[in-house]
Subunit: 142 residues, 4 copies
């Protein structure tokens, strides 16, 4: 059975700004790293999907900054599923300090699925295999 | 009287990703550029505020992607005020193509004000001069 | 006759790091901005070249940091041609403070030309029109 | 005895550009990641040095691009010492594909050491403990 492991990463020096904290824009990139890692864990790496002509663009993002990440800090990024219906996918991200568990940022991203012509598709109809896997695994992340 | 000029900038090559569009994280940075420019226009450059010990951290951001920006495209970023009460500041951003006016992204950012000890302050109490200017100019951006 | 105008830009907040200076990696991106701008000035925008199937990848970069750029500082990036022979292009960049003229960074980039199959081409043979223009204008930047 | 482990990391989606390869500026950042990791391995994390008032700015960088890194590719970044004399530090970086060993990029960075007043220092004189460790470990990376 699928067992999700939250994504772990360190804050890089080049990600800090002159407030001596990680610049707020980087969390949007960290979300993507955690999402790519989730797809790897599910068994449908983004690179494989793109090779098959399926792109998963970002429709929206949100981030709520609770406390600041500093250089060299290790954070855990835990994804949970808000919604997946075969056409839209909404994920929540909880970014926290690995040592203390202190909450850093709450994020959210929304996605649809496009074919190689850039047309929105129903993953449920076009790729039932991936869809089933998504339903199974994303259900566990609720 | 204050007359706001929306911020204009071109999409850089290094801001594209392998979908051949501007990577979605960059809009969060563009918001900041437009915000910094707004502060310049108001007459309180961020660098001056920071020199006076006032920092304006980001509490939250949101972005809703409506259509994609391509390399070399020129966009207009227009800021409007959602709320300003001396303690919190919420801004809306409308990013659109300069030629066609087509809407690209709707964004939002929320801020508070910190003193040089990192403590939240009421700009209204601590810096009435800036506060008054903010009230006057941000009112015009509603 | 072609008259080259050096590229001017401000340092963004998100480009600073916790040393409170622009992170050294960003100058590599600024080089690209200045190069793209040069191509626009010459009359062969990169976007047009890419549309015609010609890509100008980067073979090498160098940067020597002389003094630091701070947030909100305006810099002038002046390009000069080191070498252009139709197959390879080497450019030098001098980044300096706009107000004082103080030198910030000396950079260099090297390029070749690829067709839409990713094969190196001689611009001289494949696109004599662009080549002639390059020879004329780049000569002036020596 | 100190045994150096080269730094390993994956290419992120947001690091690609519209040529569908990692943008060349990112290798400059990867160098930093590998350098920070080296300092951790040596036992003098950059964050500890900065806490003690020692900053290691970048004087120069060079990168020679041999072949392209794609999204999701895992690279190995191996550092070797070119020179260390207590005042200046020059490092070489070999970035290669983890699976095939194919060379991707050759890089170099040069550094000096500053105290908390921003003055250049001789690490040999000011921090003999760190200096000795550097001599010992960097010697092994030749």
């Amino acid at each position: 059975m699928f067992e999700y492991k939250p994504f772990i990463r360190k804050a890089n020096y080049y990600e800090t700004d002159q407030m001596a904290i990680v610049h707020h824009s980087n969390y949007i990139r960290w979300m993507e790293e955690a999402r790519v890692d989730l797809m790897d864990q599910i068994g449908f790496p983004l690179s494989r999907l793109e090779a098959e002509g399926i792109v998963i663009p970002v429709l929206m993002v949100e981030a709520e900054y609770k406390s600041m990440v500093k250089f060299d800090e290790t954070v855990v990024i835990k994804i949970t599923t808000e919604k997946y219906d075969g056409i839209r996918l909404y994920l929540n991200y909880e970014i926290s300090n690995k040592e203390t568990g202190q909450l850093r940022t709450l994020c959210k991203s929304g996605h649809c699925f496009l074919n190689d012509k850039g047309r929105p598709i129903s993953l449920k109809k076009v790729c039932p295999e991936i869809h089933e896997k998504f339903v199974d695994t994303l259900e566990l992340l609720k």
